[in-house]
């Protein structure tokens, strides 16, 4: 078997790899903000007055949504919200190397939104269960 054919067999794992990669990034930043919030206040918009509480909230938000992405639960919603969140950060940072990198991350996150749940997501499992339950109910009613 050719190498390209072997790699093609792994295609189905692409969304999982992307989900995990993105989730790890958001988890890292989320935990970092909880661990040591003070340096991150510099990235807050001016009207928030460098308040540390917002960093804690942001950290918790990122951890929760990254976890949803990891589990593949509400995949589209989680990836869309994280993508918007990144866009907010990009505008807050202004043009620079970090913002350019974040643009790439935002695009990857939105591509996750476009793709939706993959076969390794909890979403798919729950949807299957829901459909199965519905068909059972309709059979009973008949």
């Amino acid at each position: 078997m050719k190498l390209s054919e072997k790699i093609d067999k792994l295609k189905k794992y692409f969304p999982v790899v992307l989900r995990f990669g993105l989730a790890i990034v958001f988890l890292w930043f989320g935990f970092s903000q909880l661990k040591n919030p003070e340096p991150w206040t510099g990235l807050l918009p001016g009207f928030l007055n460098s308040n540390v509480s917002f960093i804690y909230l942001n950290g918790i938000f990122e951890i929760i949504f990254a976890s949803l992405l990891l589990l593949g639960l509400f995949t589209r919603v989680a990836s869309f919200i994280l993508g918007l969140h990144l866009i907010g950060i990009i505008f807050s940072l202004g043009y620079g190397a970090v913002a350019v990198r974040d643009v790439g991350l935002a695009i990857a996150t939105f591509s996750m939104f476009l793709h939706g749940a993959d076969e390794f997501c909890l979403d798919k499992l729950l949807l299957k269960k829901y459909h199965k339950h519905n068909s059972e109910m309709s059979n009973i009613s008949e």
Binding site: F20, A23, I24, L27, W28, F31, S32, K35, N36, E38, P39, W40, T41, G42, L43, G46, S50, V52, I63, A66, S67, L70, L71, G72, G94, G96, A97, V98, F120, C121, L122, L125
Partner: protein, 147 residues
């Protein structure tokens, strides 16, 4: 149920691993900060918490003029001075806290190029934050002022 566990368990493992990495690797940088402070007893530690009072006292300590030759001696991670608006500031304690990493600032330690790089990266949006966190060491005596 098995399939659910196959999804949940690896996800949990990833979350725990990332948390371990963040909370254990981060201890090294906080140790570096305390070592820096111990090696330089004359320099105050910088923290954004309670920085308003420090910021005020930082801004009134300008009593000496420093030349480029003196500035260039402070060009390392353990001792980083930069020039901003014709004044010399000590950024040593902030280096490891910088969200963009130490290497974003380190090349400009002990040089006059910090201000240009800072404005390229942050524009004017972070100027007030910089003045709060940096410790003022004195005025900068550029060559033109010596002539």
């Amino acid at each position: 149920m098995d399939r659910k566990l196959k999804i949940i368990i690896p996800s949990l493992i990833v979350v725990i691993l990332v948390a371990i990495v963040v909370f254990s690797v981060g201890n090294d940088s906080s140790t570096n900060i305390s070592n820096t402070q111990n090696n330089n007893p004359g320099k105050q530690g910088l923290s954004l918490v309670g920085n308003t009072t420090q910021g005020q006292s930082n801004q009134t300590s300008s009593s000496s003029s420093l030349t480029l030759e003196e500035l260039s001696k402070h060009n390392s991670e353990a001792d980083c001075w930069v020039v901003y608006q014709n004044k010399v500031y000590d950024l040593t304690s902030w280096l490891t806290k910088h969200p963009g990493g130490v290497n974003a600032i380190l090349p400009y330690c002990g040089t006059q190029e910090f201000e240009a790089a800072f404005k390229r990266q942050h524009g004017n949006s972070k100027a007030s934050l910089f003045l709060k966190i940096a410790q003022l060491m004195g005025d900068f005596k550029s060559k033109s002022s010596l002539v």
